[in-house]
């Protein structure tokens, strides 16, 4: 060994090396083991979670006709940072058919962090959105010339027909409530805003997928992370098949025309709703894409309330159509029999005058045929007074409650809770307590509430309830919950809703034959005879409802054919006049179209009404 004098210095030098490595190992330990934040930082650096939007379920009608589908829309995105060099602004504007001042305004908007909080020059920014295929076609051909420019696509709803807008509802961007309620949603997602789109949102929307992409330091996407191990493709939404018959629905909307009102048709044996039309409505295509916002506001501002689905949300007194239930409850309670006669003094009858000319006394079927007000006042009075008034009005009130329960059993006064029909309202059949409040327990008698006998007064029903009532009569005593979607069992599981169930009315089956006969006579001899199609066995009941808002509401309920009912219908047309003149022809055309697929004057309901009106006004 040489230089032994300084030999110890080799240990010092080795010591320095060991110390340096030791310090670095401690540092590594701190960075890699102790500090857990860097992992997350690295991920947020390098990983982009790109949502894969599933295609929303399609909607078909009962005959397999496609009603609602998806149309692709395009977004042009730009990465400002990559546009700095060799970017031909003029050519870009030409390709997008915009002028350069729009380009500069838009770029200034994008980079304004006050208005666009997510701005980054390194990530894609939406330059123009909701463009059609045509809008982007010329750009897509020359896109390679423009660094940083990309075209993304998403889908919007599109519609086969301008029909059933209320039923279908619409799809729009999620709002804050949705975001709070369901963590599934993120800002910018679409969800069903109303109608069935909202009702069946969880089925239609499918499941979003995610692509975990890697982004390099300049924000450019460099492919998928871990070869797509963490990706999920998402699940497309399930399709819905409606119970709606689109041709019948279109016809109903045409027949309503410019009038305000609604048409509901139900297949009695299944509870499937064939038609759920409300007028005025809107073209569903107008609530899509960029026009959705302003168009929706316009609908909200429209004084005729087109947004309201009158078929399920509008409340009307049922008028003369209520006489059918009156008779049924009368038969069930034993207050009357099919042979019971009541006298009618025509216009001089008290306490309610008759508006039709017919003989006296009348039978039950005859009274239905002629819509005789005194007869049904008699029925109502005799039901309520069946056991007299009793002490403190007790027996009378008990009978009233009995009567009310029987009426409610036809599906009135409450929503169909096991139904998928959106936006229902309850309606009301006044309770004894309500009258107690007005008159005191002993202060009201049958005569006090006589308007109820002919479906006026405090009774309020929806057209859907009226149609269901017709279906229940057609079925001789039961109805199946009216519903809009033919759900299969898996879909029902997802919705945790029950199969449409059978509801029996409080009135026994044997009492219905007379009512059905009466309704048939309405069509053959009574107020419905001008629009009858004899070979179809139509049954119906017209109603003309007084209201404080102008002319009477025209109402009609009915079903056909008598022997084997296949369709039950309710029509309400607001403020036009007689039910026989305005509502009846719509209903018969619907039934005829459904039963024979033939409709003579489908395109011109108003003219028909006008001519018939003059012809028959005096006879009503």
């Amino acid at each position: 060994m040489i230089n032994d004098r300084f030999f110890r210095r080799s240990y010092i030098i080795a010591g320095i090396a060991i110390l340096v490595v030791f310090i670095y190992l401690v540092r590594l330990f701190m960075l890699q083991i102790v500090d857990q934040s860097t992992k997350q930082k690295a991920d947020s650096n390098a990983l982009v979670r790109q949502i894969v939007y599933p295609s929303r379920g399609l909607i078909y009608d009962r005959n397999g006709q496609l009603l609602v589908f998806n149309q692709p829309i395009y977004e042009v995105t730009v990465i400002p940072r990559e546009m700095r060099h060799h970017f031909d602004t003029l050519a870009f504007c030409q390709a997008l058919h915009i002028d350069s001042s729009y380009f500069h305004t838009r770029m200034a908007e994008l980079s304004d962090r006050k208005r666009n909080r997510g701005y980054s020059a390194y990530t894609p920014q939406v330059f123009m959105s909701q463009l059609s295929k045509e809008d982007v076609s010329s750009l897509s051909e020359v896109k390679f010339q423009f660094p940083g420019v990309n075209i993304r696509h998403r889908t919007l709803r599109d519609y086969t027909y301008n029909a059933a807008a209320h039923v279908l509802g619409s799809v729009g961007e999620v709002n804050q409530q949705d975001l709070d309620r369901d963590p599934y949603y993120q800002i910018g997602d679409y969800s069903g805003r109303d109608g069935l789109e909202r009702q069946y949102e969880s089925i239609l929307r499918g499941e979003k997928g995610v692509e975990v992409l890697m982004r390099d330091a300049r924000g450019r996407i460099q492919g998928s992370y871990h070869e797509g191990e963490l990706d999920s493709q998402g699940t497309a939404g399930q399709d819905l098949t409606l119970t709606i018959d689109s041709h019948l629905q279109i016809l109903a909307e045409q027949l309503l025309g410019e009038n305000v009102g609604s048409v509901v048709a139900i297949e009695p044996k299944t509870g499937e709703i064939l038609v759920l039309a409300s007028a005025p409505g809107w073209d569903p295509k107008t609530l899509v894409g960029r026009q959705r916002g302003p168009n929706y506001s316009a609908l909200l501002d429209d004084p005729r309330h087109p947004i309201m689905n009158r078929a399920t949300q509008a409340l009307y007194p049922p008028g003369s159509t209520f006489k059918l239930l009156q008779a049924l409850v009368g038969l069930q309670s034993g207050a009357i029999s099919t042979a019971t006669l009541y006298p009618c003094s025509g216009p001089s009858s008290t306490p309610i005058k008759c508006t039709h000319n017919h003989g006296s006394p009348v039978t039950l079927e005859g009274a239905i045929e002629q819509s005789c007000n005194p007869y049904f006042w008699g029925v109502f009075r005799d039901i309520l007074q069946l056991h007299g008034y009793g002490k403190n009005n007790r027996d009378f009130r008990q009978m009233y409650n009995q009567w009310r329960d029987d009426i409610l059993s036809f599906g009135l006064g409450s929503k169909f809770t096991d139904s998928d029909v959106p936006n229902q309202v309850s309606g009301s059949i006044p309770s004894a307590e309500l009258y107690d409040k007005f008159y005191g327990k002993t202060g009201w008698k049958a005569i006090t509430i006589r308007s109820l006998s002919i479906g006026q007064g405090e009774i309020l029903v929806t057209p859907l309830q009226l149609a269901n009532q017709a279906a229940c009569i057609a079925n001789s005593g039961y109805y199946i919950t009216p519903h809009l979607v033919r759900t299969d069992s898996t879909q029902r599981d997802q919705l945790s809703s029950n199969a449409p169930s059978k509801h029996h009315s409080a009135v026994s089956t044997e009492h219905f034959a007379a009512i059905q006969q009466g309704m048939h006579r309405v069509m053959t001899n009574g107020t419905g005879r001008w629009y009858n199609v004899p070979e179809l066995g139509m049954c119906g009941k017209t109603g003309t409802v007084q209201n404080p808002h102008g002319k009477d509401h025209a109402i009609f309920i009915g079903f056909a054919p008598l022997e084997d009912p296949k369709i039950a219908v309710a029509v309400v047309v607001e403020n036009v006049g007689f039910g026989a003149t305005w509502a009846c022809p719509i209903a018969t055309k619907i039934m005829r179209k459904y039963l024979t697929d033939y409709c003579p004057t489908s395109a011109a309901p108003v003219e028909t009404n006008e001519t018939n009106k003059h012809k028959h006004e005096s006879k009503q």
């Binding site: 080799s10 030098i13 083991i33 860097t38 991920d43």
Partner: protein
């Protein structure tokens, strides 16, 4: 005994094994760092790993040839090589193109060479030759003037003319060899003190610096109370020099250092928080390493390095890739391999019989230790960003060849020592 056979039996195979491990593992990580998830072959000459493979093979051939060259060649040609080297270093800035602000690369055809990488080896030979002279004894500071000049000249050329501060700094490592030969440890301490004075003054102010200096030199003055006057004069001069350093620190920091160097130091000292700007490299480097956690993300699975969040990831910041993909475990193995490498170098140095070999060996120790310390310290955010390669790991032919020469000449000298015993 056949002479050439004896070389293979007496060469230090542990050293060669460590060399092979580090350079092949480095090569794998260069492929990893350049890999952008689109598989191209590790051998493809179109990517950096492919090129590095060619250079690695060339380096092995070079090492083999060096082991065959008679060890006396270096002693004989020492000054000639040194002279040629100085000429090349001086010529380089005139021939070089500006690459990221430095003028240290000469392009010959499609190849670029950085002469500074070879200068370390040749300077070490020259220093060893001077100190290994038969009549040379290191007794006073005068004996160190020539060795100092031998290292300062190339250092200044590289720093001033070529603007390669990092490469120039490495020449300081030769002080380690002087220290082993008997240079006072005070020189090293004085250097460390100068750094402390500089950092404290920049970071805080001149006041704490003055307090520190007064305490240290006051203590020195106490100990020198009964020593001759000349010691007291030297001490006083040193004190004045340090006060001068302290006073000059701010000026040097603000006027002599280039702006990017200034911000790098400011970021390191926590005077500036600028993760998107000057601190970007180091911040991303720390994220990359930290996110590797214990076992790492797996080979070729690092996102930080692959996606170019860390600049210079296959050259100066290659250790990031190790940290991210191989985790704490892999990083520790690599660091311990380097430690083993350096300790083995020291062992070899200590068993040399002649001063030439030992001085050369300690120069090698110094260079490797310096590179490891500065490079890893920078990547771990403990030292300012100074761009020098991690030996055998960083991408680049010049540095690989330079380190290979440095190492294999030592191995040849060491093998010859064993032969002399026989």
């Amino acid at each position: 005994m056949n002479r050439s056979n004896s070389i293979w039996s007496s060469v230090d195979w542990v050293m060669i094994a460590l060399f092979l491990f580090l350079s092949f593992f480095g090569w794998l990580n260069i492929y990893g760092a350049g890999y952008n998830f689109e598989q191209t072959s590790i051998f493809s000459f179109s990517n950096r790993a492919g090129k590095q493979f060619v250079w690695l093979m060339t380096a092995l051939v070079m090492g083999f040839v060096i082991l065959l060259i008679d060890e006396k060649t270096y002693d004989i040609l020492g000054y000639v090589l040194y002279g040629v080297m100085i000429l090349i270093l001086v010529a380089t800035p005139f021939l070089a193109h500006d690459i990221k602000g430095s003028y240290s690369w000469i392009t010959i055809g499609s190849m670029s060479i950085q002469p500074a990488e070879f200068a370390k080896c040749i300077t070490a030979i020259a220093v060893a030759k001077y100190m290994g002279r038969y009549e040379y004894r290191l007794r006073t500071w005068r004996d160190l003037v020539v060795p100092f000049l031998l290292i300062v000249v190339p250092m200044l050329i590289i720093m001033v003319a070529q603007r390669e501060t990092g490469s120039a700094l490495v020449f300081v490592a030769f002080l380690l060899a002087f220290y082993r030969q008997g240079m006072s440890g005070l020189v090293l301490l004085a250097g460390i003190l100068a750094i402390i004075v500089f950092v404290v003054t920049i970071r805080w102010s001149i006041l704490p610096t003055l307090i520190i200096l007064t305490v240290i030199f006051g203590r020195g003055a106490w100990r020198l109370w009964h020593k001759p006057l000349v010691h007291k004069v030297i001490l006083t001069v040193c004190f004045v020099v340090y006060i001068g350093i302290a006073c000059g620190s701010s000026y040097a920091f603000n006027h002599i250092l280039q702006p990017h160097q200034r911000t790098r130091i400011e970021v390191l000292l926590g005077m500036k928080d600028d993760p998107a700007g000057a601190g970007y490299n180091v911040n991303q480097s720390l994220i990359a390493i930290g996110s590797g956690q214990f076992l790492g993300k797996g080979y070729l699975q690092g996102t930080q390095t692959k996606l170019k969040f860390v600049p210079e990831q296959d050259t100066d910041f290659i250790f990031c890739t190790v940290g991210e993909e191989w985790g704490f475990l892999g990083s520790t193995i690599v660091l311990l391999a380097y430690l083993g490498f350096i300790l083995r170098l020291i062992t070899i140095a200590e068993r040399q019989r002649d001063t030439f070999s030992q001085v050369y060996a300690y120069c090698v120790v110094g260079v490797f230790l310096m590179h490891l310390t500065i490079n890893v310290g920078m990547v771990l955010g403990l030292l300012p960003v100074i761009g020098i390669p991690l030996p055998f790991f960083s991408y680049g032919g010049s540095s690989l060849f330079g380190f290979t020469m440095l190492l294999f000449i030592l191995l040849r000298l060491d093998a010859a020592r064993v032969n002399k015993l026989h």
